[in-house]
C-alpha cells in the first residue's frame, strides 16, 4: 500500500523532532553532567544550588549568555565572523541524521526505519559533514584578525584534518566486514555478541582516539585551552556566538558518541533479547533505550577522559595522528582483510 | 531536460574559470580558477554518464579528482616556496628568467 504524502511528511517531521530534541537536550544537559562529573573527579561538589542537584544550572547558564552584551569588535571581518559559529554547528546536527536509533518498527501497516535519512552512502555522509565542520573553525580564526585566533584556527584545522584521516581508515575495517555503507546494515550485522568492538579492537582504539581529537576534546583541546592561546579561535567571540561554539562542541561529542555506538558497539542491538516473548512496541522501546544508554556511557567516557588526562602539546598531537594512529589503522585494515580472506570473519 | 541544461552550466563555469586564469595575478586565485575548470569538466562527465547510463564517466571523475588533489598540493607547495623568497604571491613577480 502506497503511503500517503501526508503520512510520510509527518513521519519525517517526528523523526527529525526526536533527533534534534535529543541532540539539543543532550547539549544542554551535557554541561551539567560535565560540571558534576568534574566535581566528583576533583573531590568536590559540582553546581548543586540552582534547582534540585543543580539540574536547572544549564537554564541559568543559557539565560546568562542571552543577556550578555553581544559585542562585535570593529576589526573583524563581519561576514565570516557571524557565519563561523553556524558553520561548526550545522554539520554536526546533519551528521546525526543518518544514525539509526532503533530497529525498523511496524506501525500503521508499514515498516518505518528509526533513522531520519537512510542514505546509501551513510558513513561517507558523516565524514563529509565532519570535513565541512573544519571550515567553521578556520574561518573563525581568520576572521578575528588577531594573531592568537589565527594560530588557534590553523592548529585546530590541522588537527582536525589529520585525525579525520585516521578516523576514516579505522572505519574501513568495519565497512569491510559489513559489506555496505548504510548505517542500519552496520548495526544489523552486529547481532548477538558479534559486536565490532570485539572483532576489531585496534580499529576501535584508533576510532575512539580520533573521535576525541575530532571533537577538539579531552587531551586534544590545545587550540582552545585557556592557558596557551588566550582562548584560541574563539577569543573574539562573546555572548550567544561564544555559546554556539560551546554548544557545537557538545553536539559534535554527541554525534561522535552515537557513531561509536553504532559502528562498534552494536547500535540498538540488545544481546539476548528474545523478540518472541515481548510485544513489538516493548522490544522497540528497549532497543531505543539501549542505544541511548550506550551513547550516554560514551558521553560519560568523554567527560571522564577530559578531567583525567593532561593535554597534549601540538607537535605531540600531530605525531600521534600521523605516526601512530595512521599506521595502526592501516594495520587494522590488513588484519581484517586477512581474516576475511581466511573466512574467519 | 536535465541533460541539456547541465552541460551548458558546466561550459559557463569552464569559461568563467578560464577568464579567471587570464585575469588574476594572485597565484592562489589562479590555482582556484583551475580547480573551477576541473569541476566544470567533472560536471560534464557526470551529465553524460547519466544520459548514457554508463559508469565509465564516474570512474573518470574519480581520476580527475585524484589528479586535481595532487596538482593542488604541489602547486600550493610551489607558491609557498616562492613566497618565502620573494614575499609575494604575484605571478608577475616571478620573472627572473625573463629576457
Amino acid at each position: 500500500m502506497e503511503p500517503s504524502i501526508l503520512s510520510l511528511v509527518i513521519e519525517a517531521l517526528l523523526k527529525v523532532a526526536f533527533v534534534i530534541g535529543l541532540v539539543m537536550g543532550g547539549v544542554t544537559y551535557m554541561t551539567w553532567v560535565e560540571r558534576r562529573v568534574a566535581g566528583i573527579i576533583q573531590d568536590r561538589l559540582g553546581p548543586n544550588r540552582v534547582g534540585f542537584a543543580g539540574l536547572l544550572q544549564p537554564i541559568a547558564d543559557g539565560l546568562k549568555f542571552l543577556f550578555k552584551e553581544d559585542i562585535i569588535p570593529p576589526h573583524v571581518y563581519k561576514p565570516f565572523y557571524i557565519l563561523a559559529p553556524t558553520l561548526i554547528f550545522v554539520p554536526s546536527l546533519l551528521g546525526s541524521t543518518v544514525i539509526p536509533f532503533g530497529d525498523s518498527i511496524h506501525l500503521f501497516g508499514r515498516d518505518i526505519q528509526l533513522q531520519v535519512a537512510n542514505l546509501n552512502v551513510g558513513i561517507l555522509f558523516i565524514f563529509a559533514m565532519s570535513a565541512m565542520g573544519v571550515y567553521g573553525i578556520a574561518l573563525a580564526g581568520w576572521s578575528s584578525n588577531n594573531k592568537f585566533s589565527l594560530m588557534g584556527g590553523l592548529r585546530s584545522s590541522a588537527q582536525l584534518i589529520s585525525y579525520e584521516l585516521a578516523m576514516g581508515l579505522s572505519v574501513v575495517g568495519v565497512l569491510m566486514v559489513t559489506g555496505s555503507l548504510r548505517l542500519n546494515e552496520v548495526v544489523e550485522s552486529q547481532s548477538g555478541f558479534h559486536w565490532n568492538a570485539f572483532t576489531q579492537p585496534i580499529g576501535l582504539l584508533c576510532f575512539v582516539v580520533a573521535a576525541f581529537a575530532e571533537t577538539n576534546r579531552a587531551p586534544f583541546d590545545l587550540p582552545e585551552c585557556e592557558s596557551e592561546l588566550v582562548a584560541g579561535y574563539h577569543t573574539e567571540y562573546s555572548s550567544m556566538k561564544f555559546a554556539m561554539f560551546m554548544m557545537a562542541e557538545y553536539a559534535n561529542m554527541i554525534t561522535a558518541a552515537a557513531l561509536m555506538v553504532t559502528l562498534y558497539f552494536g547500535g540498538w542491538q540488545v544481546p539476548g533479547l528474545s523478540k518472541a516473548a515481548l510485544s513489538p512496541l516493548a522490544v522497540s522501546l528497549i532497543q531505543v533505550g539501549a542505544f541511548l544508554f550506550k551513547t550516554a556511557f560514551f558521553l560519560f567516557l568523554f567527560v571522564w577522559v577530559r578531567w583525567t588526562l593532561p593535554r597534549f602539546r601540538f607537535d605531540q598531537l600531530m605525531d600521534l595522528g600521523w605516526k601512530a594512529l595512521f599506521p595502526l589503522a592501516l594495520l587494522q585494515i590488513f588484519i581484517t582483510a586477512f581474516c576475511i580472506l581466511r573466512g574467519w570473519l | 531536460m536535465i541533460t541539456s541544461f547541465l552541460p551548458l552550466v558546466a561550459a559557463v563555469l569552464f569559461a568563467i574559470g578560464a577568464i579567471g586564469v587570464l585575469i588574476r595575478r594572485n597565484a592562489i586565485v589562479i590555482l582556484m580558477c583551475i580547480e573551477l575548470m576541473l569541476n566544470a569538466v567533472n560536471l560534464t562527465f557526470a551529465s553524460y554518464a547519466y544520459e548514457l547510463r554508463s559508469m565509465a564517466g564516474h570512474v573518470f571523475i574519480f581520476f580527475v579528482m585524484t589528479v586535481a588533489a595532487a596538482e593542488a598540493a604541489v602547486g600550493l607547495g610551489i607558491v609557498i616556496a616562492v613566497f618565502r623568497k620573494r614575499q609575494s604571491a604575484d605571478v608577475d613577480d616571478v620573472n627572473l628568467m625573463r629576457w
Binding site: 563529509a128 | 559557463v12 568563467i16 592562489i28 582556484m32 560536471l43 579528482m65 607547495g77 609557498i80 616556496a81
Partner: protein, 166 residues
C-alpha cells in the same frame, strides 16, 4: 526543475565571485560554495558516491589546503589590477563567451539521434560497489597509477614546503 535552476544560479554566481572578488579568502569560501553546488548536481545525476567523495575530498580536503595557505601567507591585501593589462582583460572578456559558444556547439552537435535512452539504470548505478567493481577490474592499472601519482605528489609537496636547514 526549479531546484536545479536555483542551484545552477548559485553555482554560477559563486564562480563569478571567485574570479572577481579581491580578497583571496572570500574567493576560497565562494569556491567551496561552488563545489557543494556541483556535489548537489551529482546527487541529482544519481551519482551518490561521487556526491560524498566530492564533499569529502574536494570541498573538505583540497579547499582546506587552500585555506591553510591563505592563512599561512596571511593574504589580506586586496590586489589591484594594473592598467597595463587592459588588452589582456579585454581579450579575456571577449574570449569567455566565445569559449562558451564553442563548447556548447561541440556538445549540442554531438549527433543527437532520436532513439530512446540506452536502457534503464542498473540497480547499482552510482553506488560505491559499482565504481569499485570498475576500478578494480577494468581500470586496475589506472587506479594503481593514480596511487603512485598521489605518493609522488605527497613527497613533492613535503619537499617543496620544507624550510631549508642552513
Amino acid at each position: 526543475m526549479l531546484v536545479i535552476n536555483l542551484i545552477a544560479f548559485v553555482a554560477i554566481f559563486s564562480a563569478l565571485m571567485v574570479v572577481f572578488h579581491r580578497s583571496p579568502m572570500v574567493s576560497v569560501v565562494f569556491l567551496i560554495v561552488n563545489l557543494v553546488c556541483i556535489a548537489l548536481f551529482f546527487l541529482f545525476l544519481h551519482a551518490q558516491f561521487l556526491f560524498a567523495i566530492q564533499i569529502i575530498v574536494y570541498a573538505g580536503a583540497i579547499m582546506v589546503l587552500f585555506v591553510f595557505v591563505v592563512m599561512l601567507l596571511n593574504l589580506r591585501k586586496e590586489e589591484e589590477l594594473l592598467p597595463g593589462w587592459r588588452v589582456q582583460r579585454a581579450l579575456a572578456y571577449l574570449g569567455g563567451p566565445l569559449l562558451v559558444g564553442a563548447l556548447w556547439t561541440a556538445l549540442w552537435r554531438r549527433g543527437r539521434s532520436s532513439e530512446a535512452f540506452p536502457g534503464s539504470f542498473g540497480s547499482g548505478f552510482g553506488t560505491a560497489e559499482d565504481i569499485g567493481q570498475l576500478l578494480f577490474n577494468d581500470y586496475l592499472f589506472q587506479f594503481e597509477a593514480a596511487s603512485v601519482l598521489l605518493v609522488v605528489a605527497m613527497i613533492g609537496a613535503v619537499v617543496l614546503a620544507r624550510r631549508k636547514e642552513s
